[in-house]
């Protein structure tokens, strides 16, 4: 059923790619004098939006003949729904940002692969990216997304509060935390200092609550496979364990169960909390607030390896009904340019640069506190693979409901796990629409 179509579609794509390649050559021959329109979509609406505009502007300066029309759409489901619909409609943008975890949502037909020769011609090769990220963006050996960064869950801490709570090591950094009990205890002690809460976590925001959940679940050895048709292969014990940790965390003292995506970083920024669990991008709000803080790799709460939930902002080439070779070539130029300039992205937005040339550069290593957790790139755990999984996905939204049930204490961890597993099974029996 599906194979015949996919084959024909793939052959078609190959043919187009071949034709495109030929045209690319001719476009090079045409010279760089002609203006090219390049449509680029992203979802950076927060403070990293400004950094993204900077990256785009740098490319504009480098390639004056390319007219970049950049659009920032609403983060999450609206963005991915629009992008998929644009691909299905044949009028997708020339270049788009995508979370590495969302590649499976886009299947094989909605995106074109990156041509490694074209990248090599621009001085970029696969061995320059961290392996865990590469594993995710290579699908059947084809490079479907070009990673710009890795952004793991990180641990923010207020140095003043932690000092008063006796949580700092002699060198002024956070004393290492081993195990869930120590984390909870550190939260309790920080709460005594702030008089409010110890740890800020936006448990009402599906992405914020998902990050520590998935990290803990993986640290507990939990695997998740989501085969079409179901049932979901889930480690229920690990899931209960991770949910128990979240419930203990959100006891109203260590962490409030009623913070959302905005109030949680705000609580940290106003020193109402000693710690913050979130992705690295909130470095901006903490800096703007002018509070004494630092950041470190998310600790190992269970087991010895600090596996941590992460994702990668990467670039994709959406499938188009007609590929303009000049625009395609400009898309390669622009993506590579943004990769090369990703120091500003890392320093300002906290993301770990994907390109080793940048990640290993002394300039990046000197960027504190954002280079403190660069090692996390080696222990990152992406979301499970399924067409409904990944950042801003249906799975994340639905899991958020189960997790909020647990943190809000309307569900026990066991009920929460069964709720989520039951939904996963249901979802899988629906069959894969890709």
């Amino acid at each position: 059923m599906t194979t015949s179509y996919r084959l024909s579609r793939r052959t078609l794509l190959r043919a187009t790619a071949a034709a495109g390649g030929a045209a690319l050559l001719s476009s090079c021959a045409r010279g760089s004098g002609e203006a090219v329109d390049l449509a680029y979509w992203n979802f950076f609406g927060g403070s990293d939006g400004k950094l993204m505009v900077e990256l785009v502007n740098r490319f504009r300066a480098e390639a004056p003949n390319v007219r970049v029309i950049d659009t920032t759409l609403m983060w999450g489901p609206p963005y991915y729904t629009k992008l998929a619909m644009a691909c299905a409609g044949g009028r997708a943008p020339d270049l788009a940002t995508m979370h590495g975890s969302r590649l499976s949502t886009f299947g094989r037909d909605l995106l074109d692969e990156w041509d490694l020769d074209e990248l090599a011609a621009r001085g970029v090769s696969l061995d320059e990216f961290p392996q865990p990220v590469l594993d995710r963006v290579l699908v059947d050996g084809r490079l479907m997304a070009l990673p710009l960064d890795t952004h793991p869950l990180v641990l923010y801490y207020n140095t003043d509060i932690c000092e008063k709570a006796g949580l700092l090591a002699p060198d002024g950094t956070l004393a290492p935390i081993h195990g869930a009990e120590q984390m909870l205890d550190a939260g309790r002690r920080a709460a005594e200092v702030t008089g409010a809460i110890g740890i800020a976590l936006g448990s009402l925001h599906e992405a914020h609550i998902w990050m520590p959940f998935w990290s803990a679940y993986r640290q507990l050895g939990g695997q998740m496979r989501l085969p079409d048709g179901g049932p979901a292969e889930v480690d229920r014990d690990a899931m209960v364990g991770a949910m128990t940790f979240l419930r203990d965390l959100c006891d109203g003292t260590i962490c409030s169960p009623s913070l959302d995506g905005q109030s949680s970083p705000a609580a940290f920024a106003s020193q109402q909390a000693g710690f913050l669990f979130v992705g690295p991008w909130e470095v901006t709000s903490a800096r703007t607030a002018g509070i004494p803080f630092s950041m470190t790799q998310f600790p190992a709460l269970f087991g010895d390896t600090p596996y941590v939930r992460a994702d990668s902002h990467s670039f994709v080439l959406p499938a188009q009904a007609q590929v303009d070779p000049a625009a395609r070539s400009a898309a390669y130029d622009m993506a590579v340019s943004m990769l090369r300039n990703s120091l500003a992205w890392a320093a300002g937005g906290g993301h770990i640069p994907a390109l080793s040339a940048v990640a290993d550069s002394p300039e990046y290593l000197a960027e504190k506190p954002v280079s403190n957790y660069r090692e996390a790139a080696q222990v990152v755990e992406f979301d499970p693979e399924a067409y409904f999984s990944g950042s801003g996905s249906t799975l994340m939204a639905r899991a958020g409901q189960s997790l909020q049930g647990v943190t809000g204490r309307s569900l026990t961890p066991e009920q929460g796990a069964d709720d989520l597993i039951g939904w996963l099974d249901d979802q899988l029996t629906l069959g894969n629409p890709l």
Binding site: S47, K50, V53, T72, L73, M74, P78, M85, A86, R91
Partner: protein, 305 residues
Amino acid sequence: MTTAPDTANPATAPVLPRARSRAAEPTDIRRYTPLARAGIITALAVLAVLWLAPLFWAVVTSLKQEADTTVVPLEVVPDRGFTLQAYASVLANGNLVTWFVNSTVVTVVITVLTVALSAAAAYGFSRTRFRGRNVLFALTIAGIMVPPQILIVPLYRQMLAMGLADTYAGIILPQLVLPAMVFILKKFFDGIPHELEEAARVDGAGQLRIFLQIVLPLSRSILAAVSIFVFIHAWNNFLWPFIITSDPGLMTLPVGLVQVQSAFGVRYAQVMASAILAGLPLIVVFMLFQRQIIRGVATTGLGGT
């Protein structure tokens, strides 16, 4: 597509007693005792304050500097005074202007075509006889019961197949069918005396001439009412344009404003400024043509004349 009753409903036509000579004006406030009068004015004023407050706060916010929008406790007049900065930034961005043009083009085309199609059909149903007329009319009336919202899925797929996704035609075509408008116009045409038409026919006028030169000129008021209704409906329509456009350059105002981020971080003044700019055109039109618009909405809303 809003939660306001948005389709004129012919069912309601018989409800209103027809306005008689002296009934059209409000009653006289002097009929009430002074105490009752005070109560009435107070109630009116309280409701007005509640209904104006959101708009007032939006305008005030849009006139502040960004830094002043998040001052706690809230203040109406910021120390640094008011500024038009937010409006300047929003307009300089350009997107808003593009969407305004798109909205205008789409709305005007929809209004003109919908009224033309509906009026012609209403004329056919009202003044002519042909085979299958009753069946087609019944089919049209049945269409009033089909909410456009339940068609989004097949319609989107159909548009993809027709290559109309992300085109003006794709936005416009499905919005041209408002069977209730055909019903309203037909009912009005039914009431136009036949004598005029017969005289013209004796003079050798054809159907088209009778339609254009006799029936339409006599129907100016109802045509205006229908046009107003269709215009408001199309200008504010969200769901369909939202589904069928993904190219930001083709979006209409309500869709673009919701989907596309034009500023980053905390930008409340700019958000309010763009919201107000998007709402302003119809408000201004309303201030100029209040009487006509109220009559237009009331007549088409209840489906009568």
